[in-house]
């Protein structure tokens, strides 16, 4: 069964069209990542799914409840962690959690008990009696996430949960999210970090300009750009230019500044040998060569075409 469904969601603000027909579903107990650059419409989508905003058209359901017509039922079963940690600055961590528990309409006993469990789970016991305004960015984010989990909601929305966090806090947040999944919650996560989607998600939906431009597992998306990539770094700009124009017009990625070109390699060692031979003959000097697995970065750049544009611009400047 699908925990989250969205059908042809449209939303615009005045003349600005933000979502132009988003359709997807998330299976119960899975992690779905909505991946896209800033301004792609990720937050708007989360706001619609979490009942904060009404779609212009289209329908969405959470565990079978319509987000508009049955908003109250939906609010009982979702947890929302926004991009900006929404905790009460003056209250302590413990008070924040207990208050949110009460506002979820849990009994006092359940609210108090869950607050203690979550403080423990999120490593906030020592800071529990300090005002949230004294917390670091990572602690605030953890408190915010803890608050959204106070009622153990079956569906959790994480809107850019690690944006603005330092690398260590980000890793800590990833661990927490992985544990949530193990507990069986359905998670919808938005992110602009491709690595994050790769690490956490079962299924990824790539959106750009308010439209879904690709969906699939991380592996499926990666296959779009070939199983492996070969990256050549050329000795001089001249070598780079020549290689780009004569041999690698369909490169996955080209970076004029680094004089590097990446291509999909599906022919194994033999193709590599052929390529090197061709370059030898054409007198193109290669300084370095590396072989790596494609990242979601590569996928995204290829899908949106931004990579090709950037490369073209780079070359025009030369």
């Amino acid at each position: 069964m699908n925990a989250i469904t969205a059908k042809n969601i449209h939303k615009s603000f005045g003349s600005l069209s933000v979502l132009e027909g988003i359709t997807f579903e998330a299976e119960r107990g899975s992690v779905l990542a909505i991946l896209g650059p800033n301004g792609a419409g990720k937050t708007t989508l989360v706001r619609i799914l979490s009942t904060l905003l009404r779609a212009d058209s289209g329908t969405a359901t959470i565990e079978g409840f319509d987000v508009h017509d049955q908003a109250d039922e939906v609010r009982h079963i979702i947890g929302l962690t926004g991009q900006y940690a929404a905790v009460d600055e003056f209250l302590t961590g413990r008070e924040n959690l207990r208050m949110i528990g009460r506002l979820y309409h849990l009994s006092k006993k359940d609210s108090w008990r869950r607050a203690e469990e979550l403080l423990e789970q999120f490593d906030l016991v020592k800071a529990a009696d300090r005002a949230a305004k004294t917390y670091s960015g990572g602690m605030r984010r953890r408190l915010d996430l803890a608050a959204s989990l106070i009622a153990s909601p079956p569906v959790v929305f994480l809107d850019e949960p690690t944006t603005g966090l330092d690398p260590r806090s980000r890793l800590a947040m990833w661990d927490i999210i992985k544990k949530l999944v193990a507990d069986g919650s359905t998670i919808l996560l938005t992110t602009q970090y491709l690595e994050e989607a790769d690490q956490l998600a079962d299924k990824i939906i790539v959106i750009d300009g308010g439209k879904v431009i690709a969906k699939g597992t991380a592996d499926e998306l990666k296959e779009n750009v070939g199983k492996e990539q070969l990256e050549f770094v050329f000795t001089s700009d001249k070598d780079y230019k020549k290689a780009r124009e004569t041999m690698f017009e369909d490169a996955v990625k080209a970076d004029a500044k680094r004089r590097s070109i990446s291509i999909a390699n599906d022919g194994g060692v033999r193709k590599l040998k052929d390529l090197l031979q061709q370059m030898e003959e054409a007198k193109i000097n290669v300084e370095g060569l590396s072989l790596h697995k494609p990242t979601l970065d590569d996928v995204f750049l290829k899908l949106t075409g931004h990579a090709a544009e950037d490369a073209a611009q780079d070359e025009e400047e030369k």
Binding site: R47, G82, V87, L91, H105, P153, G184, S185, T186
Partner: protein, 272 residues
């Protein structure tokens, strides 16, 4: 597969009527806003000190030059400062609402199964508490510098009633401002622009009869003056005249209009 994905069930909420939850949510958010008063000592001190400074300023610096038509200046002054304090104090609702919107905690409330507009009730009730604290402190200081009220117990209770009604009215107006404002800074200057003329172009510090034509008509008839005159008459055991019911009519009128208006605006603003 179905069993492997047996989802987290969620903790069951308590079962009660909608009305029960409206009260329960209000209680939680009133607790929250009152906690803010206790935890934000800087704010409470500034709320408490400002009227004391005005009190001393007018009592000792300007007071000698002001004709009050009978009573001592300090006796005249207390009603004005009480109401001015309530007016300035009510801006904390606007600041609180604007801050909650800006920080995103209203989004959090709205994603919960609660009645999220009760956040406004929290802020306005906290204003009542904050203003009561600062009014009591101010009256104690006034007594120390020569204030001699003539009111009996009933008159004091009426003063309390008039003050609470007017403070609540101003706080709900202030909530509307907080919902309109683009930022917390905007709230501060906009509320100043409204409150400054309303409290100074009134009978708070001087009699309206000393003011030039149009200003005098404004000062005599605007709501702040009605409330000040009502409280002044009660404090000094003078005839209440029309001031009592005018003060209450203004307060209740503002509350009746601003509470539903603020609630509608809250829903609109919160959903963008």
């Amino acid at each position: 597969m179905a069993e492997a994905t047996a989802a987290v069930q969620g903790i069951k909420p308590e079962k009660h009527s909608k009305l029960y939850w409206a009260f329960a949510d209000s209680r939680v958010l009133i607790w929250r806003s009152i906690s803010h008063i206790i935890k934000n000592m800087d704010q409470l001190l500034s709320v408490a000190f400002q009227p004391i400074m005005f009190m001393l300023l007018f009592r000792y610096v300007f007071g000698g030059a002001i004709n009050t038509g009978g009573t001592t200046y300090v006796n005249y002054l207390v009603a004005g400062i009480l109401v001015q304090t309530a007016a300035f104090g009510s801006t904390y609702t606007a600041i609180g609402v604007a801050t909650d919107l800006q920080r995103g905690i209203i989004d959090r409330f709205r994603s919960l199964p609660m009645l999220s507009s009760t956040v406004l009730i929290g802020h306005t009730v906290a204003d009542l508490v904050r203003n009561t604290i600062s009014s009591v402190i101010m009256i104690l200081v006034a007594l120390a510098v020569g204030f001699r009220p003539q009111a009996n117990v009933w008159q004091w209770l009426m003063i309390l009633g008039v003050m609470l009604a007017f403070t609540l009215a101003l706080s709900w107006l202030s909530a509307i401002l907080g919902l309109f404002a683009k930022s917390v800074e905007a709230v501060q200057w906009i509320s100043f622009v409204f409150i400054f003329p309303l409290t100074f172009a009134s009978t708070a510090f001087v009699q309206a009869s000393s003011m030039p034509g149009a200003l005098r008509i404004f000062a005599e008839n605007q709501p702040v003056s009605q409330v000040i005159e009502a409280i002044r008459a009660l404090l000094l055991d003078k005839p209440l005249g029309n001031y009592g019911w005018k003060a209450l009519a203004w307060s209740i009128g503002i509350i009746v209009i601003s509470v539903p208006l603020a609630t509608i605006l809250f829903r609109k603003r919160a959903t963008h």
